[in-house]
């Protein structure tokens, strides 16, 4: 049988062991937290790299119709990241080539949500700011509805139903006219 004093000593020893284990657990928890942070930051880096790879894979043919007219035909599916890339490429080309008219044909786009529609409006606005007229052609009823639902001012954006109309308008802006040979 243990005496009262021995009981107290044992309890104190056990308490000390428990405290030590608690401290070990706390430090392991901190370490885990740090590792989680490291994993999160690595995941962010992977996401950035994936986006960069996707952007590199994303071909954006910007055609020069004349010295001052550019044509960009968007095809397939669009997302916010792609539309951001489109905007950057178009604006840089406008600057480089002193473009007066940029035609963005979206007839080949299958799905276009409101965020991409907002990006299209931003492309037109940014082009206008740089002194370049932007024409958006091939707008389907669904895309038109998405743009209208954004509730932004679209009075400065020229839109046409077909690419042919857009090209005619672009030449008319330049003071030129397409005539049959």
């Amino acid at each position: 049988m243990l005496s009262n004093g021995q009981d107290k000593t044992k309890i104190a020893e056990q308490q000390a062991q428990l405290d030590e284990q608690q401290n070990r657990l706390d430090s392991q928890r901190t370490e885990l937290g740090n590792q989680q942070k490291k994993i999160d930051s690595q995941q962010d880096e992977i996401d950035d790299l994936t986006n960069q790879i996707n952007a590199a894979k994303f071909d954006l043919p910007i055609l020069k119709l004349s010295s001052k007219i550019l044509l960009v035909a968007l095809v397939g599916s669009m997302d916010s990241f792609k539309s951001q890339t489109v905007m950057e490429n178009i604006l840089n080309r406008i600057k480089e080539q002193e473009t007066r008219v940029a035609i963005v044909d979206i007839a080949g786009i299958k799905v276009l949500d409101s965020s991409v529609a907002a990006h299209l409006v931003r492309i037109a606005m940014a082009s206008n700011l740089m002194g370049c007229n932007c024409i958006i052609s091939g707008i389907s009823p669904k895309i038109a509805s998405n743009i209208v639902n954004l509730g932004v001012d679209i009075s400065y954006i020229k839109t046409t139903n077909t690419l042919e109309d857009a090209i005619k308008h672009a030449y008319s802006v330049m003071g030129l006219k397409i005539v049959a040979a």
Binding site: M87, E88, L91, N92, I94, K95, E98, R100, R122, M125, A126, S127, N128, L129, M130, G131, C132, V152, D153, S155, Y156
Partner: protein
């Protein structure tokens, strides 16, 4: 008061190269008065060639300068907006209510 913005008077228009440092609220009235006195042409081209980093406050100031010059009887065109600035501006505004041009040469054709 000394401003870093530069005013060149040409035959067809006055070109103002706005300096980022001049666009602050404290000196706004003085800047407008100075611009009105310096621009000896009723056609004013505001060049943003010296504006590297656009913010919503800067855009607001530029808008106010355009309004001031318009109200004092000038025609105003903004030019030399770089691609990065143009992209950033679209984050701050839903529409543009001033004339824009590529460069000074293009701007004078818009008057």
């Amino acid at each position: 008061m000394k401003f870093r913005s530069v005013v060149d008077n040409h035959d067809n228009a006055s070109r103002v190269m706005l300096a980022e440092g001049d666009l602050n609220k404290e000196h706004f009235n003085a800047l407008c008065e100075w611009l009105a006195a310096e621009c000896r042409n009723k056609q004013v081209v505001l060049s943003l060639t010296k504006v590297e980093i656009m913010t919503s406050q800067l855009l607001e100031m530029i808008n106010q300068i355009v309004n001031f010059l318009t109200l004092t009887g000038n025609e105003v065109v903004i030019c030399d907006v770089n691609p990065a600035t143009a992209a950033i501006v679209t984050n701050f505004t839903d529409g543009i209510n001033f004339k824009t041009a590529r460069d000074f040469k293009h701007a004078v054709t818009l008057f």
